[in-house]
Chain length 140, copies 2
DNA sequence: GTGGCTGCAAATCATTTGCATATAC
DNA sequence: GTATATGCAAATGATTTGCAGCCAC
C-alpha cells in the first residue's frame, strides 16, 4: 500500500483512503474496468464510497498520466493502469479487452501530413484466442 | 441521388427519403459528424425528420458496412462514410477529426498472440497542421 | 395489404454538477 | 485552519425504447 501512497505524493495528489483503494484496484486488476465496475467492487469493503469519488479520482489520475482512458467500446470508458505504450484488442465475442504489446514503428510520435502526433492508440477488433478455441471445440 | 438509391437497394435496405438524405450527407461531408450534427443540418430542409430516424439509419448503415462508427472522442459517436481502411487523427485544439492515409503493415488483419484480428483502427491525438500554424503566428 | 420505417415522448445509462460536510496537510 | 476531497441527490447529454400512424414495395 505504501507503493500507492508514494505514487500519489509524487504527483502532488492528496493521499486519501479512496484514492489508494482505486489505485490499488487498477494496479491489481489489469482488466480495463469501467468506472462502475471499480465502484461495485470497492463498495463491498468501503460502503461509504460514492461513484462521484470514483469518477473524480479517475479523472485526476488520467490528468497526471497515471491511467489511460480507453474509448474502444463505445458507450462507456474503460481505464488502463498500464502506462507503457501498447495497443488494445476488443474481442467481439466476449467483449474482453486484451493488451497487445506490439508497436507501429511508422507512426510513433511523428509528424504525418503536417500534424503533430502526440499519442498513438491502436484499437484492434476480432475474436480472441480463447473464444476462437471455444468455437473450434464446440461447433464446426 | 440515384447513386444512393442503388447503394440502399444493393444492401436490401428500403429506400426512403430520410435514408437518402442521410447517406448523401455522409457522402458529401467527410467531416466525421455526430448524429446530432447530421440531424441539425438535415432538419432545415426536412422539418419532419426525427433524431430517432437518424440513429436508426446510422445503425443500419453501420450493420451493412456502409459507415464506420468512431469512438475516438469519448462521449459521442462520430460517423465516417469512408469505408477504405484508414486511420484517424483527433486534434486536441480544434477537436476536428482528420483522415490519415497510412497503413501499419505489421498488424494488418493478422493473428497476434493467438487472437484473430479482423479490424485495425489507429487513433492518433495531437495538434493538427492548421492549429500548429495558428499557434506559431499568434503567440510565441 | 403488410411489414418495416418514421417520429414523438418517455426511459435509460454513463457521466457531471451543486453543494454541504468531512478530512488531509 | 484552510483548501481540497467526499458523497449525496439532482441535472445533463447521448442514445434507446415503446408505440401509433405512415409509407415503400
Amino acid at each position: 500500500m505504501e507503493k500507492y501512497v508514494q505514487i500519489l505524493k509524487k504527483n502532488c495528489l492528496k493521499v486519501t483512503p479512496q484514492r489508494l483503494e482505486i489505485l490499488k484496484y487498477l494496479d491489481t486488476h489489469r482488466t480495463h474496468p469501467t468506472a462502475d465496475t471499480i465502484y461495485s467492487n470497492l463498495k463491498n469493503n468501503n460502503p461509504s464510497l460514492s461513484k462521484t469519488t470514483v469518477y473524480n479520482t479517475l479523472q485526476h489520475l488520467d490528468e497526471h498520466g497515471l491511467v489511460y482512458t480507453l474509448t474502444i467500446s463505445g458507450s462507456e470508458s474503460r481505464f488502463d493502469s498500464n502506462i507503457n505504450p501498447h495497443h488494445h484488442f476488443l474481442c467481439k465475442i466476449c467483449s474482453n479487452i486484451i493488451d497487445i504489446d506490439i508497436e507501429c514503428p511508422n507512426v510513433k510520435k511523428v509528424e504525418v501530413g503536417g500534424h503533430r502526433i502526440d499519442e498513438v492508440h491502436g484499437y484492434f477488433k476480432g475474436v480472441c484466442a480463447s473464444c476462437l478455441k471455444e468455437s473450434n471445440n464446440g461447433e464446426d
